[in-house]
Symmetry: T
Subunit: 69 residues, 12 copies
Amino acid sequence: MSNHVYKQIELTGSSPTSIDDAIRNAVKKAAKTLHNLQWFQVVEVRGYIKDGDVAHFQVTLKIGFTLDD
Amino acid sequence: MSNHVYKQIELTGSSPTSIDDAIRNAVKKAAKTLHNLQWFQVVEVRGYIKDGDVAHFQVTLKIGFTLDD
Amino acid sequence: MSNHVYKQIELTGSSPTSIDDAIRNAVKKAAKTLHNLQWFQVVEVRGYIKDGDVAHFQVTLKIGFTLDD
Amino acid sequence: MSNHVYKQIELTGSSPTSIDDAIRNAVKKAAKTLHNLQWFQVVEVRGYIKDGDVAHFQVTLKIGFTLDD
Amino acid sequence: MSNHVYKQIELTGSSPTSIDDAIRNAVKKAAKTLHNLQWFQVVEVRGYIKDGDVAHFQVTLKIGFTLDD
Amino acid sequence: MSNHVYKQIELTGSSPTSIDDAIRNAVKKAAKTLHNLQWFQVVEVRGYIKDGDVAHFQVTLKIGFTLDD
Amino acid sequence: MSNHVYKQIELTGSSPTSIDDAIRNAVKKAAKTLHNLQWFQVVEVRGYIKDGDVAHFQVTLKIGFTLDD
Amino acid sequence: MSNHVYKQIELTGSSPTSIDDAIRNAVKKAAKTLHNLQWFQVVEVRGYIKDGDVAHFQVTLKIGFTLDD
Amino acid sequence: MSNHVYKQIELTGSSPTSIDDAIRNAVKKAAKTLHNLQWFQVVEVRGYIKDGDVAHFQVTLKIGFTLDD
Amino acid sequence: MSNHVYKQIELTGSSPTSIDDAIRNAVKKAAKTLHNLQWFQVVEVRGYIKDGDVAHFQVTLKIGFTLDD
Amino acid sequence: MSNHVYKQIELTGSSPTSIDDAIRNAVKKAAKTLHNLQWFQVVEVRGYIKDGDVAHFQVTLKIGFTLDD
Amino acid sequence: MSNHVYKQIELTGSSPTSIDDAIRNAVKKAAKTLHNLQWFQVVEVRGYIKDGDVAHFQVTLKIGFTLDD
């Protein structure tokens, strides 16, 4: 296992509900085209405001996955 | 739209419940005196501890809004 | 109060449910062996992915407590 | 002069033309309501893209000014 | 709109003329193979020197675009 | 207390004497127009030099205060 | 040469032997599918521990390559 | 000497008087339970405000000491 | 496994030979008193110079381990 | 070429016209006393304000050059 | 004045007494060989510990000065 | 010893072999013209790629030395 090479991509997920949900949305989207997803790291949490409340959260993640041999 | 000027202020919201809630509290407070709020960015997440559990979350945000012409 | 000295330790809590929950798990664990816990600060939010969804969130905290005189 | 106190505010200027112009737009806007502006510092350069080209540059500045006695 | 997922890639554009031009070159290059480009953020500004003057500016950008559903 | 919202502003105090004094000058200036000041955080320490010695220290602070309900 | 556009990707190489070797493993892996690789920059050095010693080093790199015209 | 291993801990000292004094208070507190203290590094300078003046300075330090063989 | 809590400590290992060796020395020292060591992260690489060459490398690590239940 | 040693110095150029021009001014100044200049990296962009507009831009650069053998 | 070019050098001053004094020592030392010193910026504050107290403070500064025409 | 003033310069060493070797090359080069070299700190690790492998490592260091009295 110790010679594996991993690639990280950077995605931004959004959700009107919560930060946790925005993360899950980004991970699920990545899983549609990439397999071997291993981990994520939160890079930034932002959001848009409408009518004086949070309209949606935007969470930017690095997502790491194993490159196939 | 491309010549707009935006101002950012820095607020800290708190909540005994969740990070999401602390963010919403800060945004709602800002909306009481400022209109044209556009976005926020999380700067820091801290909190206070009491009786061995989280007493409340404190989330510091930059909040951006359009300056009126 | 102004001459107190505080110590900070760094813990990582995890939870399959939410970031808030991972923070509470780390704080509760610290409270089992340390008293006088005062505050925490989030250092990093990461997580592991399994079957195309978040398996668990991992939140690294600095936790501060008063050193006894 | 050595006992002056300065305040910094954070503004984001935009321009379809250039980074320099976005900075000037933010400074001119600040000058409409604040006097004694002294300096600025670039915090971030971003921009929006439309039809495969830069639509406008957005430059976030800290702008410092002397507080009146 | 609030459930969109965005991807960011990192490109470095160069230009013998100006920083603005180096940014536009990177954005136009990205637009040849990606649609739905939304925004960019400047990560680093460097350059090469020849004969005692700037030979070309090199600007590294994160460029964000919407992932198709 | 856990639902309070705080605002931070950024001031630069100066003093020919010491860093501590520059901090106190900024805090006292802020206290002239704002009540409910709670805490400060040092952002940057700079200074000007004249005749081969420090002419005055300049300390930039974030100062936090409770927003009234 | 001054109008070239470069792309950077982020890979993590690992090796039970050394940091240098983990870097070489990531570069060689990238070279299997990308040509025109130009440079790398170390982003992070981590590793896993087993039986009280380093089991393998993990080095995260940004790797830059020329985009074909 | 070149094979020594050092440990760093993070303490916050406070003082109503000065930053220097807050540092000395943290170092003296550490010296009560740890010997072989070697160096410190300032991580953060904060403070609390009361009645429009600095009530006390809070300085967070990393303190390094030699681990006994 | 997802509810584990980890603690990180910060150690500095040194070696006259190499960076890799300084890391291994710090990890081995930690393993003498702590079990369940899981990972490390390099925080800083420094060193001392003597007679115009590197006398020894000093590598500061965060080392993470599982807290026992 | 692979055994070359480079030195970096830090200069601040200024210009009433543009950021690009401030960079060129610093590079040209360096070229008067140093040969073998190779590259620059922008460290900070600041400026002074007069009469409600940018008086001049100030760009701080690291400039790298080959040390002669 | 707006076309001046400034150079920054990095010095570390030390003092057994105070941070302010360590800064003044570094500035005075620089003034022995350089004229036209303009400003300084604190980069890092460290220190050495002896007999359970601060032996001396070490403050690293960037010091800027005008390059002669 | 506590009143010494140190200067830091920034050099980049390179080596086709290893990171350790690139560091040693930079230190040895500095030692040719400067005496009283005391320590180094790694600022950045980069490298160039050729034929799908690392051509040479480039390590940027701050190197500190005592200024003579």
